[in-house]
Amino acid sequence: MTRVAAVADIHVGVDSVGRVAAGLRHVNERADMLLLGGDLTRCGEPVEAQMVANELAGVEIPIVAVLGNHDHHAAQTAEVVEVLEDAGVTVLDGTATTVGVDDATVGIAGGKGFGGGFAGANATAFGEPAMKAFVEETKREAARLQDALVEVRPRADRVIALLHYAPVPETLRGERLEIYPFLGSHLLAEAIDTAGADLVIHGHAHNGSERGVTPGGIRVRNVAQPVIQHAYRIYDLGEPAVREAPVAATG
């Protein structure tokens, strides 16, 4: 049994003392790891990151996070990451990590992702430099996520993709259609489907829906706290499949 606790968009500000910690009192007994899908802070100030670290102090299970757009606002992401890493949080940015659960290994590949919209109504890298830069940012995020998934897969029994932005429109249901291009991109889903994963976790869309699926059939869960209406959600990945033994070298 592999139990993954996940939440996003906790938006910790200087007036948030104790709120997140109160919701995590029993997470150590209930789950094997805690995933944070971005927007940990309200404005991306290092002092807010320190408050996040304080709120997470009682969490003893591994914590893996990505940053969200709010965490970028103050343009101090290096400092924010440093504060979080010092507190024991693994922060992914087009990278991957593994968490051991009993005899199994769960790989988590993550990144912020970005917007652009979904197939048939998506932005394209055409015209003004600003438009091209917007789309290139998404392409870069998708490519780095795909590389991280490919890299971690051989050393993991289960693989989770952790994002802030949404890879599919299904988990945006409830949001205004006009803002979908600012909430996610199908390029992220394409990257995940190409590389393969068992579960996708994201946030960002506060008015969206919890459950969706990629075009390739991978389950997607929007764990933005306003969506799940709880401190976190737990996903039980079940017993891991037995990993194939490496083929013995011959000759």
Binding site: H11, D15, R30, R221, H230, Y235, D236
Partner: protein, 83 residues
């Protein structure tokens, strides 16, 4: 002439994203008659109040109706089995 209501909505949303008291993008702002109705979710009660304060300063002559909820953080959510 009074500001057209559509521009007021835009100005309010801009202020909610940039004003240090609010910093919130997820507020749904509707102007209806002489009321500005706010829905969505704030992280804390203090942020919920600050958002209404920012809106009140911009929406001169309007009544601000704050229907925002505050993030729920209780721990007893269901476990979903993904088998």
């Amino acid at each position: 002439m009074a500001e057209p209501q559509e521009y007021l909505v835009h100005h309010i949303q801009d202020a909610l994203a940039t004003d240090a008291r609010a910093r919130e993008l997820g507020v749904d702002v509707q102007v209806a008659g002489d009321r500005v109705v706010l829905t969505g979710t704030a992280a804390t009660p203090a942020q919920r109040a600050a958002i209404a304060e920012v809106v009140g300063e911009l929406a001169d002559g309007y009544q601000v109706v704050n229907e925002m909820t505050v993030l729920s953080a209780d721990e007893d959510g269901a476990v979903e089995e993904l088998k």
